[in-house]
């Protein structure tokens, strides 16, 4: 778009070249969260996906597998309901619902506001289940150590190029609902190729919360990252 204002300068107009990030207010709070997490050595993971790709089910599964080894807690962002947090609590770990009231993503401020409800000293791993959508959550840094994106075999394998920002900013792609691979037209190879064209550092695990495929590999990845964070 042509910069009309500089052409049509009239009267005395004063210009300031600012070049400030328009999400600066968010990123400032994200930094505060990072510092809080550094104090206690708590690993913070931001889990994103389209709606219904299996985030909550995976949180439940991960909690079952790891709760005897480490202390886990979860924050769940949802447009309206408390359902997901209830499901996670059933596995015996602390879960807090952040109802966004129609906002389609979580912002750092929303996380920071509820942070004091967690005893971070005693939490090794804090998950944030983001609102299900691959667009808006990609722009908002929540101060996480890693961003993990689920891509279900039921949603078609063209997502990485449709939502490149999410895959560019993720560290791990979990190809979820892998148990359904025999029944759906989905190529893990094609989705991995596309995703790694966007982000060659992206790690990929094929996973199913139903059949347990890949769950141990995922848990080992988490344990390794927790170890690194604790130093």
């Amino acid at each position: 778009m042509v910069d009309k204002s500089t052409k049509a300068a009239r009267g005395t107009v004063q210009c300031e070249n600012t070049n400030i990030n328009l999400l600066k207010a968010n990123d400032f709070v994200a930094d505060i969260i990072k510092k809080e997490m550094a104090k206690t050595g708590t690993l913070l993971i931001n889990v994103t996906s389209s709606a219904g790709s299996g985030k909550t089910t995976l949180m439940q599964k991960t909690a079952e597998k790891l709760k005897d080894k480490i202390k886990i807690a979860v924050m769940v962002g949802d447009l309206e309901t408390e359902r997901d947090a209830d499901r996670i609590r059933e596995t015996g770990i602390q879960a807090l619902q952040i109802v966004t009231g129609g906002i389609c993503h979580l912002e750092a401020q929303m996380i920071h506001q509820v942070l004091d409800q967690f005893d971070l000293e005693n939490i090794d791993l804090l998950f944030i289940e983001n609102v299900g959508n691959l667009v808006c959550p990609s722009s908002f840094d929540l101060g996480e150590d890693y961003r993990v994106t689920l891509m279900a075999t039921t949603e078609g394998d063209d997502k990485p190029k449709k939502y490149p920002k999410m895959f560019l900013t993720s560290d791990m792609m979990l190809v979820s609902k892998a148990d359904l691979l025999p029944y759906v037209p989905f190529s893990v190879e094609a989705v991995t190729k596309d995703a790694q064209e966007v982000n060659h550092e992206l790690e990929v695990i094929q996973i199913s919360s139903l059949s347990d495929e890949g769950v141990d590999e995922w848990c080992d990845w988490l344990l390794e990252k927790i170890k690194q964070k604790k130093g």
Binding site: G11, C15, A25, C136, E197
Partner: protein
């Protein structure tokens, strides 16, 4: 939608950056946003209009949005590639790169004030 949050964030950021008196004389805000930013100009203009209904003090402030194309600079050969079809691969040496130099920005690039 997140356009509303973005408009809110723009004004929150400007309010941190400038004095109130100065903001009262604000005339235009120029954004520079990359195609990777997930910002859809049309939706953002709409959200901007809607914002003024509840915040009439900034009613007269114009919004200009400039979109930028996606470019990477190779870490190995320093070649600059225009990224097409989201293939983040150097045109020259064919090595993958995440070194985005343009197309990811979400900037308040320039602000105009009346004297």
């Amino acid at each position: 939608m997140h356009e509303t949050s973005i408009v809110n964030s723009i004004f929150r950021t400007l309010e941190q950056e400038f004095e109130v008196e100065k903001l009262n004389n604000m005339k235009a805000i120029h954004l520079k946003v990359g195609i990777l930013s997930n910002i859809e100009p049309r939706l953002l203009y709409n959200a901007y209009e809607a914002f003024h209904m509840t915040n009439p003090i900034y009613q007269k402030v114009k919004l200009e949005i400039e979109m930028t194309e996606l470019k990477i600079k190779c870490e190995i050969c320093e070649h600059i590639t225009n990224v097409k079809n989201y293939r983040f691969i150097c045109d020259n040496c064919k090595k993958p790169s995440k070194n985005v130099i343009q197309g990811e920005e979400m900037l308040i690039h320039k602000v105009e004030f009346d004297d």
